[in-house]
């Protein structure tokens, strides 16, 4: 219960960061943070039903749920790919406008377009 509330706060923090931070790189930080929060949520809750890692060496029973873990492998990788691509856009925008500030970029790009 307390863990879920903490994760909820983490999602609030990340979402607030995406919206209110003006620096593009910080927006990408925040995106990483909410992604991490959801990954923790899945794995943490999935591990409540067992006490052993899902590696079936002889005699192991009572394992945790392996499905959320496998799903989250995919989610982690997708998250990193998205942030790499976002960073490349940030780099390009910096090369064009000379700043990471989203308001300034918007003003300059608006002039050029």
């Amino acid at each position: 219960m307390i863990e879920r509330i903490l994760l909820f706060i983490m999602i609030i923090v990340g979402f607030w960061g995406i919206v209110t931070k003006h620096n593009i790189i910080k927006k990408i930080f925040a995106l990483n943070i909410i992604n991490n929060a959801v990954v923790i949520l899945f794995v943490l809750e999935g591990s409540r039903i067992g006490s052993n890692a899902p590696i079936m060496e002889s005699g192991i029973t009572h394992i945790v749920d392996p499905v959320p873990q496998a799903l989250m492998l995919t989610a982690i990788v997708i998250g990193v790919c998205i942030s790499a691509l976002a960073l490349s856009f940030a780099f390009r925008l910096y090369k064009i406008t000379g700043t990471f500030d989203v308001r300034e970029i918007k003003r300059q790009v608006h002039h050029e377009a």
Partner: protein
């Protein structure tokens, strides 16, 4: 004053979504156990892999993994293309390879401008730091590569697997690149080699998905079913292919990103 007003406005705007989320987080329904119980009984028998996460990742839900690999491939290609278009020059390995073409002052600039400093940072200690990095990473590189291959090949038996092994292989490649002296390039740290490995591995992965179709077993089924014994052979094969693809792809991405830019 106006700034505070905007803040309050934004906070009020975001509040509804967060309020809506709250019941989902407070909901304490016990986690379902049906799938876990099924896998505990039949998972190893069905897929042959002792590591159940691996058996889901590369067996039961391998189609997701194919999608994930495609995301990675597209992201690596796209990121490098956008960086290149913005004026960053791709280099072979960490250091610029055609050093002989540079003038003396440019060489001096390369030596002065150290590896992991950011633009505008001027400190004298950095020269020492690069030497430290060169020696340590150069020695560690092969060990890390070995560990990566271990993870990749034993993914069905122990924690690890193609993807994790691949990422470790990529860090091994980066270590090798960092350990190189200026002007030296390893076989593994050349951009072209990595690109070729990645392309081949992707082609193999797509073909691996349709071999089962051609053998009459169905899309993405184990084509080695006719061999009696361990049914994990297909998972091992996929582990190797994905490991090579991910290692080459991420290694390529990282080398391209930290590679020296001369514009």
């Amino acid at each position: 004053m106006k700034k505070i007003g905007t803040r309050i406005f934004i906070t009020l705007g975001l509040l509804p979504l967060l309020l809506v989320l709250l019941p989902l987080f407070l909901d304490g329904t016990p986690w379902p156990v049906a799938v876990r119980n099924y896998l505990e009984l039949n998972g190893v028998k069905d897929s042959g892999a002792i590591n159940l996460v691996s058996s889901i990742y590369l067996g039961f839900r391998v189609f997701d993994t194919l999608g994930e690999t495609i995301v990675l491939l597209t992201a690596v290609g796209g990121t490098i293309a956008v960086f290149t278009r913005s004026g960053a020059i791709l280099t072979d390995g960490y250091y610029n390879s055609n050093i002989s073409a540079l003038t003396d002052s440019e060489k001096q600039m390369l030596l002065d401008d150290p590896s992991f400093t950011l633009a505008g940072e001027k400190r004298l200690s950095h020269v020492l730091r690069t030497h430290l990095i060169e020696v340590v990473t150069g020695v560690l590189g092969p060990v890390v590569l070995l560990f990566g291959f271990y993870l990749m090949l034993y993914g069905h038996l122990s924690p690890g697997g193609g993807f994790q092994g691949g990422v470790i292989i990529a860090s091994g490649i980066i270590f090798l690149a960092l350990g190189n002296r200026i002007g030296h390039v390893n076989f593994l740290t050349r951009a072209l080699v990595l690109e070729r490995i990645e392309a081949c591995a992707f082609l193999l992965l797509v073909f691996a998905s349709v071999i089962g179709t051609a053998m009459g077993e169905g899309f993405f089924t184990n084509p080695f079913n006719f061999i009696p014994g361990n049914p994990a052979s297909f998972i091992v094969l996929l582990n190797i292919i994905i490991g090579l693809k991910v290692g080459a792809g991420i290694g390529f991405l990282c080398i391209a990103l930290v590679g020296r830019e001369i514009v």
